[in-house]
Each structure stands twice: as structure tokens, then as C-alpha cells.
């Protein structure tokens, strides 16, 4: 995997909010690479700068020091090659579900029939075909996030940045959504940068877990993990129970290690 092309690279990134006495050092010396096909999950205590890092990569804010590159070029603003999914849905309520999904392609002036095709394909992908003409406020929280995902996917971005996309959902819906995002990532071979609070969520989705420290946010540890396929692929069967115990042992080991790191911080 590490042989894949580097899509996003940050070099010695610092971010200071404000100036003078009130300034906040949100990010300190962040060096991170995101390669094509990776599913990077970022964990860290509240206020440690996770969202700040995502916003820098998205191009919404500028780093104070250091560089943030996409495919070797400096990131200078938002761009449709980097799709973003926020915690609370940012679907436009004055547009139907369909129009929301079509928004990106339409902004890029694709031909009308291609737009329609894309929209149908991705609504299908998030299991919402047939909901295209609904108003967004008729949807449940989980459905909204699925439309938001479809809207981003419709642009076929190189990388998808997600800031606690399931944070506002209840535990059961969240489970479904994790399954969905795993499948989409698999099928489309997407690259995903995913912020979460939830250690279990990170472990069950990621190919790499990045743990950040309290303010000022630094990267203190990275774990390469591979529980995701086992967890979500319905075909995976453990040959015997010892294999399963081994797997579970491994899972708990990493989980406890992460929790220890974080707790020792606090």
C-alpha cells in the first residue's frame, strides 16, 4: 500500500489562530501523507485540532507555517478534487435530493444527461434511489448524511475528507453508515481522510489510524491496522475460534494502546 502515489502531503504544518495574546496554537509541526486508496482515521481529544487539519487540507484555511500539498502542488483553496463531508449535513434545503447530488457536476458544467446519470448512479450507491424528488428535510439524519456522501462522490474527487460524519447519528444508524462507507470505499477505490472521536469507529474503518495529542495538536502515533475487511465483509469467516480470539486480542490490544495514549494526555 505504501507504494501507492502520495495524494496529500503536509510538511511541518503549523496553524496559529488569531494574533497576540489571544492566539491559539492549534496545529504544531504536522507531517502527514495520504496515499491513494488509504482510509486514514484521525483520533484525538476534543479541541486538539483535528478539524483544523482537515480544513487546511480542504483549502478553507491557510497554514501559518509549513506546506500542504496535493499531488505535489500547493493547496491554494477549496477544490472539487477534495470532497468534504461535514458532521451535520450541509444539504441545501431549497434543492431536492436530486438537485443536491447534481450540484457538483452542474457547477463543473457537465452535460445534462451525464449529470443525470451520475446522480442516479450515486443515489443508488447510497441506497436512496427513488428518493431523488424528496425534499432534504423529509429525510432522517442518516439518510441526509448518505445524500451528502452521494453529493461528494458525484464529483469523483481524488480524496474525500470527512469530519466526524456520523457524530450526530445514533449508535445503530452509525453502524449502518460505517458499513456503507466501507463498501463505497472498497468499490470505488476511494481515498478517505476521516475524523472521529470514537476509537471503535476508527479501528473498524481505517487502514491507518493517526492519533493526535492535546493542544497544540501534534501527531503522536500512527497505527497501521486491518480490521475493517474482517468486520464488514460478510464472507469473512474465521477458520476456528482460536483465530477469532487472536483477532479479538489484536483488536483490544490496539484499542487499549490508543486509549492509554489519549488518557495519559488528559
Amino acid at each position: 500500500m505504501s507504494q501507492e502515489e502520495v495524494l496529500i502531503e503536509t510538511k511541518n504544518l503549523d496553524k496559529i489562530y488569531g494574533t497576540g495574546e489571544d492566539s491559539v496554537l492549534a496545529l504544531k509541526d504536522i507531517n502527514l501523507e495520504i496515499r491513494r486508496g488509504e482510509f486514514v482515521c484521525v483520533l484525538g481529544p476534543s479541541g486538539c485540532g483535528k478539524s483544523t487539519l482537515l480544513k487546511t487540507i480542504a483549502g478553507y484555511i491557510e497554514a501559518t507555517n509549513g506546506q500542504c500539498l496535493m499531488q505535489g502542488e500547493e493547496i491554494e483553496g477549496p477544490d472539487w478534487h477534495r470532497g468534504v463531508v461535514f458532521q451535520s449535513s450541509t444539504l441545501y434545503p431549497w434543492m431536492s435530493v436530486k438537485d443536491n447530488v447534481e450540484f457538483g457536476p452542474r457547477m463543473r458544467n457537465l452535460p445534462e444527461d451525464e449529470i443525470k446519470e451520475i446522480q442516479e448512479y450515486f443515489l443508488e450507491e447510497v441506497n436512496l434511489s427513488g428518493f431523488g424528488d424528496k425534499a432534504t428535510f423529509e429525510l432522517s439524519g442518516g439518510m441526509k448524511q448518505r445524500v451528502a456522501l452521494a453529493r461528494v462522490l458525484a464529483n469523483n474527487p481524488q480524496v474525500i475528507l470527512m469530519d466526524e460524519p456520523f457524530g450526530a447519528l445514533d449508535a445503530l444508524t452509525r453502524n449502518d453508515m460505517q458499513k456503507l462507507i466501507h463498501n463505497i470505499w472498497k468499490e470505488n477505490n476511494s481515498t478517505i481522510f476521516f475524523i472521529t472521536h470514537d476509537v471503535d469507529e476508527a479501528l473498524s474503518l481505517a487502514t491507518r489510524v493517526v492519533v493526535m495529542s492535546k493542544r497544540p495538536g501534534r501527531i503522536i502515533r500512527e497505527f497501521n491496522v486491518d480490521f475493517t475487511d474482517t468486520l464488514f465483509d460478510e464472507n469473512t469467516k474465521f477458520d476456528d475460534s482460536s483465530q477469532r480470539v487472536e483477532y479479538e486480542d489484536e483488536y483490544f490490544k490496539v484499542k487499549n494502546e490508543i486509549l492509554d495514549i489519549i488518557n495519559n494526555q488528559v
Binding site: 472539487w80 468534504v84 461535514f86 451535520s88 450541509t90 441545501y92 434545503p93 431549497w94 425534499a135 464529483n155
Partner: protein, 274 residues
């Protein structure tokens, strides 16, 4: 314990939504029946002179006479039409000027720095304070009347626009950018619709403010208009015409607001649902 139980009933009521229950409708109706009844009895007993409080019968008679003969030789609907023409021209002007200026002020704080203090200065002023100046500058035609109403209507829409832009969910704009929208498209496809609900509230407020200024605006150099009619009736102590004017204005105010609300529900269908 009784109190608690009563409370539960109340809770159930509010669960059923905000629609008026039957009892409440009856109460509202009774209130007006009692008011009208008291009015009738008090005048029947001749407790007050008819100039102070004309009997309802006299008001009704006067109303039909007005319908037939008009006031000052001008039909009642022409008076109404004259007033509403001024009102809606003013409101229209306010809408087409205040929305762009307001949105721009919300968007570019430098524009706000220029416009805002001027609006904030004139807004709380009593319209009658500067009406004479408007007359001096713009003459006695409808122009100065419309400008007076326009000024009244401008501020609420302008302020609503600024506040709307300020309140826009920034993530709406960020996600539009990440979806590849240009600045111009963001303005027309995101900012404008996102502000519409609040702009509409502003327009309704503007109508209300302009409406309360209606009579003032017809104080000078008018010979038509429902407001002028009331003022002229005051000059001749025609209380029954004052009452008619008040009823007409009260009812048409409520009707127009209902109309605006209807349009609002159609255009800003997502309001309150997000």
C-alpha cells in the same frame, strides 16, 4: 394533584400542535361578540354622545352610504386603491433596493460600514419628524408619500439581509466551494436562497412598519387614500367614518399579511424545516 392533572391536559393540547382548539375559537369569537355587544348596549343606553362613540348601527349605515356614495366624491375602493398603490410601490422599491444593498453589506463589511450607520440613524426616527423635509425636497405629489413609506420599509429589509448573511451556515458555502462552485454561483445558488427565509420575514416587517406610516404619509396634500379619509373625518368629528377607516385598515392589514405569509410559504417552503 388536581393542578398536575390539569397540566397534563395542557400538555396534550400542545402535543396536538399549535392549531386553535375549538374552545379557543369559541373564546376568540365570544370576545368580539362581547366587545360588539358592549358597544351596542353602551350606545343604546346613550351613556356617551354619538360623537364620542357612534352606535354600531350608525357605523354600518355610514359604511353602506360610503360604499354607495364614496367619500368626498371618491369611491371607497379608489381611496383604498390610492393608499395601497403608494404602499406597494414603496414596498417594491424597498425590496429591489434593500435586498442587494443589504446582502452586499452582509457580505462585504466595508459596504456595511458605509451604509449601516446611516440606516441606523434614520431608522428609529419618527417619520413625521422628517416628513416636512421630504415635502420640501420632493414636493407634494405621491413622490414624497412614497418616499416616506419607502424609508419606513427599507430598514427592516436591509437589516434582515445583513443578519441573514451573517447567519448563513458557513459550511453551506464551504461545501459549495469544495463542490467546485464559483464565487458568482455561490452567491446566486447558495447565499441568496439561504437568506430568503429571513429576507421574507424582513419584508413582512417592512410591510407592517410602512403600514403604520400610511396615515402619516397621507396627512399632507392628499385628497384620496384611506388614511386621508380618516384624517378628514377627524376634522369634521365624523367618528363613524373614523371607525370605518379603522376597521378597513385593520382588516386589510391582516389580509395582506396573510397574503404575504401565503407567498412566503410557497417560495420559502423549507423555512423552519431545517
Amino acid at each position: 394533584m388536581d393542578l398536575e392533572n390539569e397540566d397534563k391536559v395542557e400538555n396534550n393540547n400542545s402535543e396536538a400542535g399549535t392549531e386553535k382548539s375549538k374552545t379557543e375559537k369559541v373564546l376568540t369569537l365570544s370576545t368580539w361578540v362581547v366587545i360588539l355587544g358592549a358597544w351596542y348596549i353602551v350606545t343604546k343606553l346613550e351613556l356617551f354622545s354619538p360623537t364620542l362613540l357612534p352606535p354600531p348601527t350608525e357605523v354600518v349605515t355610514a359604511f353602506f352610504k360610503l360604499l354607495k356614495d364614496g367619500y368626498n366624491g371618491i369611491a371607497l375602493w379608489v381611496h383604498l386603491g390610492a393608499s395601497f398603490r403608494r404602499l406597494f410601490i414603496a414596498l417594491g422599491l424597498a425590496i429591489i433596493t434593500a435586498i442587494p444593498i443589504g446582502l452586499l453589506s452582509g457580505y462585504v463589511s466595508k459596504v456595511k460600514a458605509i451604509v449601516d450607520s446611516v440606516v441606523e440613524f434614520y431608522r428609529p426616527l419618527p417619520p413625521l419628524a422628517y416628513y416636512t423635509l421630504l415635502i420640501l425636497w420632493f414636493g407634494i405629489d405621491d413622490k414624497s408619500k412614497i418616499i416616506l413609506l419607502f424609508l419606513a420599509a427599507f430598514a427592516p429589509i436591509y437589516i434582515a439581509c445583513i443578519s441573514a448573511v451573517r447567519k448563513i451556515n458557513q459550511d453551506y458555502i464551504l461545501s459549495a466551494k469544495s463542490l467546485g462552485a464559483s464565487q458568482k454561483k455561490i452567491f446566486f445558488k447558495i447565499v441568496l436562497p439561504a437568506c430568503l427565509p429571513e429576507i421574507f420575514t424582513g419584508i413582512r416587517t417592512a410591510f407592517g412598519v410602512a403600514y403604520t406610516t400610511l396615515v402619516s404619509s397621507e396627512m399632507i396634500a392628499a385628497t384620496s387614500g384611506i388614511g386621508w379619509m380618516v384624517l378628514d373625518a377627524s376634522n369634521f368629528l365624523k367618528s363613524e367614518v373614523i371607525f370605518i377607516g379603522i376597521f378597513i385598515m385593520g382588516i386589510s392589514g391582516v389580509l395582506i399579511d396573510a397574503g404575504l405569509r401565503f407567498i412566503e410559504r410557497k417560495i420559502v417552503f423549507w423555512k423552519g424545516k431545517v
